[in-house]
């Protein structure tokens, strides 16, 4: 810390820092511009929203703003998303924790190859499995249902949750395992008694990662669930945006509504969100 403070002090040209700060400030405004467009137009009412006034703030706040219409149309789909994302996140995190523990601490001949083959499943374009996936779900009676979507997200979530937990558990000292083993604990007992209590931070990271990924999914939702009443909110937002009879303020408010859960998580737990990015996207 002290060296960092020292190094910071050493940087001579102060006006240079102001220039950089100014550039950052301008970039922040550019980055927030679409967010402004969403919110400013979402709170306008149907009379005051127009293409010519896109950049202007709302003149007054009325009770008939876009959020009323958006909530009316999207709240059922919001519930669909929630009832999909919560079980899918919990299940895929738990499976990932067990797999990650086994791949990190109980390596056997070929385990790295198996792990790599599993990880490949995270990167494939899902278009290459959609057709047999839909047929399979139809056969087992899960096509068009939220449980069907949960199953899909759990299975295709396994590679990435396994990867994050594997990297996390690899950092847990093996001495802890050895101690448990001397006490006679087996593979599962060690996991429950030693590893699980240590893995709360990893669960938070993986949970946020999966929640965001699954909430934001579009492709599985649109192909596995054809019935609009049962679709997750991202698909409903896209439908809303393509409907010409719907006012523009409702679409913008709808975008805010659909973005809100992940945005709130990001604002509250940003630190873990960043850790998830680092853990999940840099190679295993």
């Amino acid at each position: 810390m002290t060296t960092a403070a020292l190094a910071r002090k050493r940087r001579r040209p102060r006006w240079g820092s102001y220039a950089v700060w100014f550039v950052l400030f301008c970039m922040a405004i550019v980055f927030l511009m679409p967010v402004y467009v969403m919110i400013a137009n979402g709170v306008k009412d149907a009379q005051s929203v127009s293409l010519q006034r896109m950049w202007l703030p709302p003149a007054q706040l009325s009770g008939a703003n876009g959020f009323v219409g958006a909530w009316e149309r999207l709240s059922p789909n919001l519930m669909n998303s929630l009832s999909m994302v919560i079980p899918a996140t919990v299940l895929s995190s738990l499976i990932g924790a067990i797999n990650g523990y086994l791949f990190a601490k109980w390596r056997f001949r070929g385990s790295d190859i198996i792990f790599t083959l599993m990880l490949f499943g995270f990167f494939i374009p899902y278009q290459s499995i959609l057709l047999p996936l839909v047929r399979t779900l139809q056969v087992v009676g899960l096509y068009g249902t939220i449980p069907g979507l949960v199953l899909v997200h759990v299975i295709y979530g396994i590679p990435i949750t396994t990867l994050i937990f594997r990297n996390y558990f690899a950092n847990v000292p093996t001495e802890l395992l050895d101690a448990a083993r001397v006490d006679g604990a087996g593979v599962i007992t060690t996991f429950i008694r030693v590893m699980l209590p240590l893995s709360i931070p990893a669960f938070v990271v993986v949970g946020i990662f999966q929640f965001t990924n699954i909430w934001n999914d579009f492709l599985f939702g649109v192909t596995v669930v054809p019935n609009p009443a049962r679709q997750p909110v991202t698909i409903a937002l896209n439908n809303l945006s393509g409907t010409f009879s719907v006012e523009w303020n409702v679409v913008m408010a709808g975008a805010v509504v659909a973005a809100l859960p992940t945005a709130i998580i990001y604002i509250l737990l940003g630190r873990f969100f960043i850790r998830g990015i680092l853990a999940g996207s840099v190679k295993g």
């Binding site: 790295d112 599993m118 057709l131 992940t262």
Partner: protein, 347 residues
Amino acid sequence: MTTASTDSTPAVRTASVETRRWRLSETMQTVLLLLPSIVALAIFVYVFISFTFWVSLSNWRTLKVDLSLREPLFATYGELFAMARWQADLRNTFVFTVFFIAFAVTLGLTLAVMLDRHLAGHHVFRNIFLFPYALSFVVTGVVWRWIFNPETGLNLLFELLGMNHLLAQIGMGPLRPGWITDPTVVAQVNGILAAVLPGAESWQVRWGIPLAMIPVAIAATWQLSGFVMALYLGGMATISDEVREAARIDGAGEFQIYHRVIIPMLRPVTISVVVILLHVSLKIFDLVYTMAGVGPGFATDVPAIFVFEQMFKATRYNLGSAAAIIMLVLVALVIVPYLASTLKEES
């Protein structure tokens, strides 16, 4: 991260030597516990891909299932590559990939370097730049569709800022691009390709840069440059201050420290960033679908939309499957060497 797993490798090795005696039963337990996941992914990834591949070779092109193989075997692929739309899709993916990766890496790295100075409020800036990454591509598409709508959005902003007035003063026409509605393809290279490649004159598509693809690349950059920044910041945090200090003592300026020392040290991060962005751009679907659709004259169509429409709208299953397999091959060309090198590094 790689460092994490390599650190622990020696420890794991010693453990396996010590415990060889009761290893067998524990290995059995491990395999049994892993088996459900292994079987599920074997089916949902590898068996499913094989099925899609089979369909791409079959006669199944209507709602009626027909899995008999087509004669000649790869006829559907021939048909696919002869389609003007598919040729446009390949062109668009290529153009999108180049612009998107160039924009996102440049911007992400620049933001990371600026934030690495730990100026006042750098956490706030970082959180703002990363924020779009938490949103869905659908949300991004819906909003940016209006920003790049020629009737309003940026064109209106140009107007409001008086740019067209300014341009008129110096004798130029108003700046009013068609953005995502622009069918123009600039920098066409059909002539050059026809001269170099045999058979290229039969291509139906205009090879060049479809202008409508650039706004899509900008929207994607908005969403993902914060992610690139986060990866670079993560990498920069692992470089100790001694390294910078040493470079400074050697007389390097701020710019040189990054240009000559830090960025070269972050090569592994750069490789990860490019591989990840590359596979995102090859698969890009929701953003383009919600923001621009297929575009005028397929100016913004991409393979993922093509597959989706052939499979779920036109029910031409063999054609859609063939296109999906090509997408998979393109992604595999990027990902397999990356995963293989990771595997080799670890063992």
